[in-house]
């Protein structure tokens, strides 16, 4: 199970340029919980509890590129 309670919230911000040193993951590499978070937050100004190992600064390729912000 990848859900862990870190007390942090994640947000996804659409990004145009992907830095060379970013860790980039495709939607299909994520587990079920992480995919759920991406579906819920992509394109929305909401936050969700941090899950799995989607961490601050990661980039996810879904219908757009999204930068993960974790606070």
């Amino acid at each position: 199970m990848s859900l862990r309670d870190t007390g942090r919230q994640v947000r996804l911000r659409r990004t145009g340029r992907v830095p060379s040193d970013a860790r980039v993951r495709h939607y299909d590499e994520l587990d079920d919980d992480e995919q759920g978070v991406v579906r819920e937050l992509a394109g929305e100004p909401w936050t969700a509890p941090e899950t799995g190992d989607l961490g601050d600064g990661d980039v996810v390729k879904f219908t757009e590129y999204y930068l993960v912000r974790s606070r």
């Binding site: 992907v18 040193d21 970013a22 939607y27 590499e29 579906r39 219908t63």
Partner: protein
């Protein structure tokens, strides 16, 4: 003496096996042999590189120092040409022999060429490796007109690459819609429209009869079986994979559209295992032999194979695979085995949202979701549970469907 493991293939299946073996057998000797010139990279992101959306660096997953740190002997550019299961050894093209206590074959597939005139001309591309992606990117950046062949999950990557690189393309399909084995015309039309918006025109009841080349041997047109000629300076061919079973043809290993393994990823030879795209595995969820061609499944099979190589029977592979398309402004996901089954139910659930679920003996075996992926977990759960939903199929089509919407299963 410690055990020695040899893994052929450093794709995601072979690499995840190496990682798991190192965790489970800290003292083992682990050797990974690959015919590619680079260590594990992200095969499902190379299309983004070819589209010009992603730099090279983030596509690498294991740098070569990963192998040193994990005490794994990695041999690049090493082609295994023979497996001697009687003497527990593999032989390479370069003349080396590697002996093993346990062997893993994670050798994947190779794209098929069209059996037509000039199919290997310059400018005609197949897509499997990072090197292919570099060649495609270079070729497509200098191209004006493209032709794409192969109406499936890899063909649409070529369509997206042409769209992203401003190449006006014709997508020649044999039937009357894209991925006709999994989608009806109604669902496929959403995909066709997305292609058209990117300058890629689907052409139905078509295909390629031959390619024409210029004086330098570079592709200049594709001619379809109806005699229509489509000019192009770039062509992408994705008509399917040949699984790399040639390597095991002269061995006692059982082959049937891949290397046959049980649910523990073991072949009919006790100390030989296989994982990833190459396997025809005992699918415990489907209840028959099956094949998967997706990243998540290959990774999981590598992990499971490694655990069973250390201790046979320790963990079975039980997994619902999925494969998404993220090129458009709506998502697409296929899960399980969408082309199988004896029944199906489909619906347009909202504008540009469509779904289809395939059933066998009343149970969900796979499906396709376009636009709204929210029920993906519910459908995967139904597959894992093997729930008979034959008398409530329509509920599967309700927006926001969840497993709780179904009537409780009755005691048999």
């Amino acid at each position: 003496m410690s055990d020695s493991y040899v893994i052929v293939g450093d794709g995601i299946a072979g690499a995840s096996a190496a990682e798991t073996l190192r965790e489970e057998a800290p003292d083992a000797e682990i050797t990974v042999l690959t015919d590619e010139g680079e260590s594990l990279y992200n095969r499902i992101l190379i299309k983004e590189y070819a589209k010009g959306k992603l730099p090279e660096a983030p596509i690498s997953i294991h740098q070569e120092d990963w192998y040193d740190e994990h005490d794994v002997d990695l041999r690049l550019n090493t082609v295994v040409v023979d497996i001697d299961v009687e003497n527990d050894a593999v032989h390479t093209h370069e003349g080396e022999t590697f002996e093993y206590d346990s062997l893993l074959l994670a050798i994947g597939g190779t794209p098929q060429q069209l059996p037509v005139e000039n199919a290997d001309a310059d400018g005609i591309h197949h897509f499997w490796t990072f090197q292919d992606a570099r060649n495609i990117k270079e070729s497509v950046e200098g191209a004006e007109k493209g032709v794409i062949v192969g109406a499936g999950l890899l063909g649409i990557d070529f369509a997206a690459i042409c769209g992203a690189q401003d190449v006006e393309a014709k997508y020649l399909m044999r039937g009357d819609n894209w991925w006709r084995y999994a989608l009806s015309e109604e669902g496929a039309e959403i995909m066709h429209e997305a292609m058209r918006e990117r300058g890629v025109e689907p052409v139905f009841d078509s295909g390629v009869d031959r390619f024409e080349v210029d004086d330098d041997g570079h592709v200049e047109a594709a001619v379809d079986p109806n005699g229509e000629r489509y000019e192009c300076d770039f062509a992408g061919v994705a008509i399917g994979l040949n699984f790399n079973t040639e390597l095991v043809e002269d061995t006692p290993l059982e082959i049937d559209d891949g290397i046959v393994v049980d649910e523990f990823m073991r072949t009919n030879v006790d100390n030989v295992y296989a994982a990833g795209d190459i396997t025809s595995f005992n699918d415990l969820i489907l209840g028959e032999q099956a094949k998967n061609g997706s990243w998540g499944s290959a990774k999981e099979q590598g992990t499971i194979a490694a655990r069973n190589m250390v201790e046979y029977g320790s963990e079975a592979f039980e997994w619902v695979s999925s494969y998404s398309i993220t090129h458009f402004d709506f998502p697409f996901l296929s899960f399980g085995h969408p082309t199988l089954g004896d029944d199906s139910v489909e619906a347009t659930t909202a504008e540009s949202e469509w779904r289809r679920v395939a059933l066998k003996d009343g149970k969900v075996v796979g499906g396709v979701l376009i636009g709204d992926l929210s029920p993906q977990s519910a459908f995967k759960q139904l597959m894992r549970e093997g729930r008979d939903v034959s008398d409530q199929k329509d509920r599967l089509m309700e927006p926001g469907f969840s497993v709780d919407d179904l009537a409780a299963p009755t005691e048999q």
